[in-house]
Symmetry: C2
Subunit: 344 residues, 2 copies
């Protein structure tokens, strides 16, 4: 099946999204109402051990406790809920290394829609199995040789299904923004305005949504992306003021954070609201996963721990400050997890 770039654009799904306006704070509030019956309202967690180690007042947003084990359910459910009734029977298609896959699959299951997920063949086994567990059809591809977006678009085109982009979509961003909204609500209740909020970044949807909500309530808060060393497209882009790809060629243990370049919509938001980005090495991420096991008693996947890793590695100036670290997911294979906690 040959599909020219123009044809693909004409199919509209992704290109249309890219031309859409970024979500507003009202869109995040609307997403919170959509999510209320389905998502877990996660609560900030504090850890005396972490406060003592960093000299800061640290709050953790534990999104591994979210339905499907990561924040991705939020954006997926908000997006799928917006699909008109008449288009739902044709289902949804998504491409994802794992957490977006589970988010879309679980949201589709709740909304009674068929879902097909295009996943890399080297995605963690647990993520593939869990995606199938939510009733989705999983189509595997070779991360090095095949174009997952094209595979997904072809399937969507054949079936008339709706393509659900992983991050560069206003409703996806608004859904992820409920992470920031809940953080703000919890901090307002505690009377603890944040000095710094950091989230892991891959395509930038979590950071964009979170930034919209945090900046609405706390305009003076500093927002920082955290990325695996080498996969620092957000840090480069925020630094230069234009979207820059990262230059990494290999892998990182942060399998959830391998997007090659920030999204157009997400970067339009982040460029305005986010101060910059930090990175953490794979060994630092492993140490953070082990720290979370030993001291926090929370299961964090490598990609979900990169902001914590940056904090523990001293990448932020936090002494005496109020800091929020988003732990974005906990879907990690037992073998890798066992190795990391025994090393750490």
């Amino acid at each position: 099946m040959i599909v020219s770039r123009l044809d693909r654009a004409a199919q509209g799904t992704i290109q249309a999204a890219m031309n859409e306006a970024p979500p507003t704070f009202a869109d995040v509030e609307a997403a919170a109402r959509v999510l209320a019956p389905a998502a877990i309202r996660t609560r900030l967690i504090s850890s005396p051990a972490l406060d003592e180690r960093t000299g800061a007042r640290v709050f953790l947003k534990p999104e591994m406790l979210q339905r499907t084990g990561s924040f991705k359910f939020r954006g997926a459910f908000n997006k799928l809920s917006s699909i008109p009734t008449g288009q739902r029977a044709a289902g949804v298609v998504a491409f994802s290394s794992g957490n977006h896959a589970q988010g879309v699959a679980a949201a589709a299951q709740i909304l009674n829609m068929p879902a097909t997920i295009v996943m890399p063949a080297d995605a963690p086994l647990s993520k593939r199995e869990r995606t199938r567990g939510y009733g989705a059809e999983v189509v595997l591809y070779d991360r090095d040789k095949e174009d997952r977006e094209q595979i997904a678009r072809d399937i969507a085109s054949r079936r008339g299904a709706t393509l659900v982009p992983p991050f560069d979509d206003p409703r996806i961003i608004a859904g992820q923004g409920t992470v920031g909204l809940e953080i703000a609500e919890d901090l307002l209740a505690l009377g603890a305005p944040p000095d710094l909020v950091s989230t892991p970044a891959s395509g930038g949807g979590l950071m964009a949504g979170t930034a919209i909500a945090i900046k609405h309530h706390f305009p003076n808060a500093t927002l920082m992306t955290a990325e695996p060393e080498g996969f620092d497209d957000h840090a480069r882009s925020l630094n230069s003021g234009t979207r820059q790809p990262h230059h990494a060629e290999g892998r990182t243990i942060c399998d959830a954070l391998m997007a090659s370049i920030p999204g157009e919509i997400t970067f339009a938001v982040n460029q305005k609201l986010v101060a910059g980005g930090v990175t953490a090495t794979d060994p630092e991420v492993g140490t953070a996963v082990a720290f979370a096991f030993r001291e926090l008693k929370l299961v964090v996947e490598p990609g979900g721990a990169v902001a914590l890793a940056a904090l523990l590695a001293g990448r932020f100036d936090v002494r005496g400050k109020t800091v929020v670290i988003v732990l974005s997911g906990g879907n990690v294979d037992a073998d890798l997890y066992a190795r990391l906690i025994q090393q750490g």
Copy 2:
């Protein structure tokens, strides 16, 4: 140093406690005020995966998120806070397989009191190290040959220190009761009265305190202890109406749940308020630890997972009911944890 049983009784610390009246609901409320500045206010967590699997509405009380990684900090801090100022400099002594040790050590550190903890030489390494990490002196003993209570009493007697019993003390029980108080507050806010509340049981302090608070707010709730198979002294005692030792001779992976017989005060409470007890085998506990890793993303130690294990093994009739399961701690060595999650 030869100390007769009568002499020991005359030293008063433990025996006096045993002759004291059980705490009341007002004592639990008072403990909550004492704990407010120091303890973590843990929030009930729900899991769609667990609800689906059990057919119940399940709430988890995540006490691995408590300071020191288990609920034991609550009772210890409440007890130590009651020691008169003039007696604080002489310090505290406790005997514990690990979680009470950490609770007492951390409470003593906050209250600026010296602490000596008598621990079995085969206690998990992480528990010994963490106890030392809170600034306590750790004295090891041989679980099979030595009497830890006598060792602790001798030290307390020599130093004029206060012995902090692990469970059979009204202030310890009242402190653990804040677990039940917080559960009740969360459920009242949700408008979800519980049908069943189950906690792990060793000496019975957690269950006794929890029962006092739960029954105050929800007199119709059924309370059930959960114990490792063989180490079922609570189930036997509740069944017969008198304190019965368990008949186990070996070990269980639930290192935190090896007390030989219910406490006198704890049993006086539990006999009135608790309906009965269930057990779970070590393999079932291992499965529950792995389930909590995979589905809940919470690090639970074997002893902390025994009520969850009983739930997953079908020991409770929960379909259509509202159920609270206390996950009482998360202090587990990485090697054992790695083995359990890779098996499960």
